[in-house]
Symmetry: C2
Amino acid sequence: MKKLTLKVKPLDMETGRNIVVLHEDDAEELGHFAGDRVTLATPKITIVAIANATRRMVQQGELGTFVEVTEALGLKLGDEVTVSLAPRPQSVAAIKKKMTGQQLSSEEIGAIIRDIVADNLTTTEMTAFVVAEYIKGMGTDEIVALTRHMVDTGDTLELDVKPVLDVHSIGGVPGNKYALIVVPIVAAAGLTVPKTSSRAITSGAGTADVMEVLANVTLSLDEIKKIVTRVGAVLAWGGAVRLAPADDIIIRTERMLGVDPRCQLLASVMSKKLAVGADHILIDIPTGPGSKVEQIEEARDLARDFIELGHRLGVQVESAVTYGGQPVGYAVGPALEAKEALETLRGNGPGSLVEKATSLAGIMLELGGAAAPGLGRQTAMEILSSGKACQKMCEIIEAQGGDPKIKPEDIYIGEKKETLTAPQSGYVTHIYNQRINDIARAAGAPRDKGAGLRILMKEGRKVDKGEPCLEIYAEHETKLDEAIAIAKRYPPVKIEGMLLEKMSSRPRIW
Amino acid sequence: MKKLTLKVKPLDMETGRNIVVLHEDDAEELGHFAGDRVTLATPKITIVAIANATRRMVQQGELGTFVEVTEALGLKLGDEVTVSLAPRPQSVAAIKKKMTGQQLSSEEIGAIIRDIVADNLTTTEMTAFVVAEYIKGMGTDEIVALTRHMVDTGDTLELDVKPVLDVHSIGGVPGNKYALIVVPIVAAAGLTVPKTSSRAITSGAGTADVMEVLANVTLSLDEIKKIVTRVGAVLAWGGAVRLAPADDIIIRTERMLGVDPRCQLLASVMSKKLAVGADHILIDIPTGPGSKVEQIEEARDLARDFIELGHRLGVQVESAVTYGGQPVGYAVGPALEAKEALETLRGNGPGSLVEKATSLAGIMLELGGAAAPGLGRQTAMEILSSGKACQKMCEIIEAQGGDPKIKPEDIYIGEKKETLTAPQSGYVTHIYNQRINDIARAAGAPRDKGAGLRILMKEGRKVDKGEPCLEIYAEHETKLDEAIAIAKRYPPVKIEGMLLEKMSSRPRIW
């Protein structure tokens, strides 16, 4: 193994991982290619770093060390470091094996996941893994191992109760604030629901963004445990805790490529749920045009995969295929959705939201043994109507440091407002999910909590020309203008006459 | 499309491409993910850059600009730049199409290759392309398009003669200095051979490294054209000219993954040859244990693919499958190989090298019409024996700025030398190509021109215990020691008794 002794030139920049820069001639002498790993040794410490070759930043004989490496090795200008090529991690052989379509053993998957979490893979290797997963897929044994290793390489929530319920929506539908209704209903029945959720990525608000309007969602694992033990539930931001952290890293690569390998989706959802100790899990699969899963057959397939995977992982999974072809409820955006959720808990919610929330909560009540089979939905409805769910939500809000007495009308909504009206009479034949998201985001959501929109009519409604159909809210005038421009250019509500096509009985005369 | 106006914070570092750094909150507001592209606009200029999100190097509202971006936009501290998400290049859709196994059109492949050459793809996208090529492969139509677009996106050598001959060895065998014999033989017959070649990557010397001992190989396209026009041939380093530059970029990713997609190998070789205007091409496929292609069937497949591809590209290709199970000739390392090549041209070369070189030259003479079918080898042998090839080599060396009067004994060989002897009597049953390369590189090759080794016996030779079997040469004592240590630990020459296995006729008695 070739070794070079190079003189340290500290580079005053943090890169987020161990990176060094070599002169191209030195790199060539080592037999090095850009992005390879090198072993860096001082008399006391040895570490591995990613090395880039350049002709610019360092001279031959010099080693440019970014802040992380400079600190890890305690280096200063002119110190000597022995540099040699580091072998590829063993997990790279497993990634190549998956590229050739072979099944990976649990050990091989474990090696990959551990190296991902330890930041031992280069961008190239990480991408190769995701592309191989996407093209070659994984069998159930592999997905089971993938899920387990993703859980094992992160923190876990250890609760002293059984059962532990959880619910996850695979997303893709705007205004999906269901969790703020479902979680308090289920907890009000005495069940335990440690719900973690994400912030919005491409939508106007994620569950964590909405809950943050009412309480603190950035909680440590200890805080989550204390809150769940006291009030039976939490609505926390998953990004604040290290639950299955490999998932978050893998998802970054998936997003850059715009792919979502089925095996990774399954393992991703299940690992987050297992990490909080859930043993009874409901998976909501919104389905319909413009949602993540467009076809009902595909949704059913996915539902079956989740159930099978749960079985193999020793937890009970049920799946609900829900209608995701248009927004749930009317409100989109953190504050507007929080307001709608509070209204719903106070018995004044939109039909679609009440129906979805009580249906999902009903399944969970049956799963957790708090309702007899077939009676879940009815029990959920009773808990909601009785005000017990609302009371539980107040407890959750208080436990998370919010104001338990908050009323819907207390919630600050952006003061810049515009109402868009129907350009013609007819029927609402479609609402475009993606356009709704784009408008809400242009208005400032989810960063501006008060920004977003309210849809005033849903699919099937008759509408007269000039009737209001959309309200846009923003905190800043310029963002309101931007949102209006997008709404006018790409109308989110499709209005058509009932007579979609006119057939003439008179023959044409040429 | 969301836009942010950020204040410039120049970062004093060159990165080799357009890269900026955003604060994570700004990136989130843009809807940005690490490695995404952003459009940067000043009142005068708009460019696209790769953007990384961080919480460390810049504050919210700041845009960290590395040297390339700072210069391209003419920025200084505090200037304002409008930042928005840039769309993915269209070629990314084509890459995703290949990931799903679909055939790409010539337009789609052209978009990918143009974006590779223009440095428009992120590392993630580039990797996805190579992995998709590797897993899904390409049909002949696609490889034809790939080759053509790789040629079109680079410089080309335009010669006014026909035919233009060329030869390429797909490599993997040490000591393969055949080109220094073949090219002058073919040129001595009046044919045109604009030979470009590479430097060593994992071996002790590439053809360019060997030729550099005798003459300058870093030539511009103009210089190559002048030399070829004058003496009929050149032996230049391909890395100094922009022939099919996409290939060089793609190969970097292939090496990082340790994969060599068949379609890319084919297009890579053919594009380099087409770029110099070759219309009659010989492909040498060394085959045997420890070479790139280990099985003869695989070599034949590859040979057929090259011939078919040539046919589709309108050039005549012949393939030669040669024995690559042990080094060609005895010498490995730039100076040692140059010396052996000169000796061979002067009629004093090792049998294996003479045989390989005259066989390949013979095929080329027939291809170019300078020898009747079936008489190529004999003609090549006559040209070599007559001294005409040697004379032509002197002309080439002189044209490339070297000393045409150089004699084998003038070549400087490293003065630190060690001779290793046979540890036992027996027969040489195998020589390990990879170990030979490792020892030569440890001794300093190809960087130290005088470093390398000479094998003193080839496969099949009878050897007595204590008889010299390997000479290692180095320019530096420490490197010699390193090479010796490797040779002792991993003996490159396998010596066994003639009786490989003893069968007993006496039945065992339990």
